[in-house]
């Protein structure tokens, strides 16, 4: 039987992949997708802990995380569209308007 440790290890691996994606990729859409991978890794550990402890709270928090993910995706993609309109690029290194 897979134990809580196995699920936590999987969650850690997925989170590490997401973090690596945020740092390594130079395409802002892939960076947002990597953030989604990280959020899902955290969701998995919440549900696994809830299953281990016998609480429903782990699953309830997953709903809130999903809501935040949806809001983040909507606002993030709106920013991407607005930036792409001005710069014709998806490389996050070209978006330095806030730097002084």
């Amino acid at each position: 039987m897979p134990t809580l440790n196995d699920y936590l290890m999987l969650s850690g691996i997925l989170f590490a992949i997401g973090t690596a994606g945020v740092f390594v990729r130079r395409n802002i859409i892939t960076v947002l997708l990597s953030v989604e991978i990280m959020l899902n890794a955290v969701n998995l550990s919440f549900v696994a802990f809830g299953r281990q402890m016998g609480y429903a709270d782990g699953q309830i928090i997953v709903f809130f995380v999903m809501t935040v993910a949806a809001a983040e995706a909507a606002v993030g993609l709106a920013i991407v569209i607005a930036l792409f309109r001005h710069r014709e690029s998806l490389n996050p290194d070209t978006f330095t308007m806030l730097k002084w």
Binding site: P2, T3, L33, V47, Q59, F63, L77, A78, I81, L90
Partner: protein, 172 residues
């Protein structure tokens, strides 16, 4: 048991390919595959409702939003060669520092897993019903639930305002 390893392998492989892929459309598709595998893992964890909303909300709504934007922008391929030459993260110092941090993190994770080895599996199945979830959500978590609705409203207004095309003449 084998199902766990099957789903875990699909999730990890698909996530790796999401990061390694250079075409954003393929990245989104692979991420949907990864979410499907995660949904299977939620079923194994006796959380069928989470599994269902993982498919409907994540794969069905959020990823379709991503796909819309990717196809709308007709996203160009990234210019990686240029970045490797000039990007500060690819200098020798930051590379070695990052490698050292990664080794530290891997060692710490291995140590933590070795120190807290779980011998037994999960306790006997006690399925959390949708009824229980809804009851908890509208009693104990009622305030958070309402705050969530405000969050979504703010996100919606923000997205509409930011993505709106401003004409130079002031006409929208």
């Amino acid at each position: 048991m084998t199902l766990f390893y099957l789903f875990a392998a699909i999730a990890v492989l698909a996530s790796l390919l999401v990061v390694a892929q250079h075409n954003p459309v393929y990245s989104v598709m692979l991420l949907i595959a990864s979410f499907g595998a995660l949904s299977g893992l939620y079923v194994l964890l006796d959380a069928p409702f989470v599994a269902v909303i993982q498919i409907i909300v994540y794969a069905g709504a959020i990823m379709v939003l991503f796909l819309f934007v990717v196809m709308l922008l007709n996203a160009p391929r990234e210019d990686t060669d240029y970045d490797i030459r000039v990007h500060p993260l690819f200098r020798r110092g930051p590379l070695w520092f990052g490698a050292a941090l990664a080794v530290c993190l891997a060692a710490e994770l291995a140590w933590a897993l070795g120190a807290t080895r779980m011998r037994s599996g999960f306790p006997a199945a006690q399925m959390v019903s949708v009824e229980t979830l809804g009851h908890r959500l509208f009693t104990d978590y009622a305030f958070q639930f309402e705050v969530t609705s405000v969050l979504i409203l703010v996100a919606m207004i923000g997205a509409v305002i930011m993505a709106r095309h401003d004409e130079p003449g002031g006409k929208q």
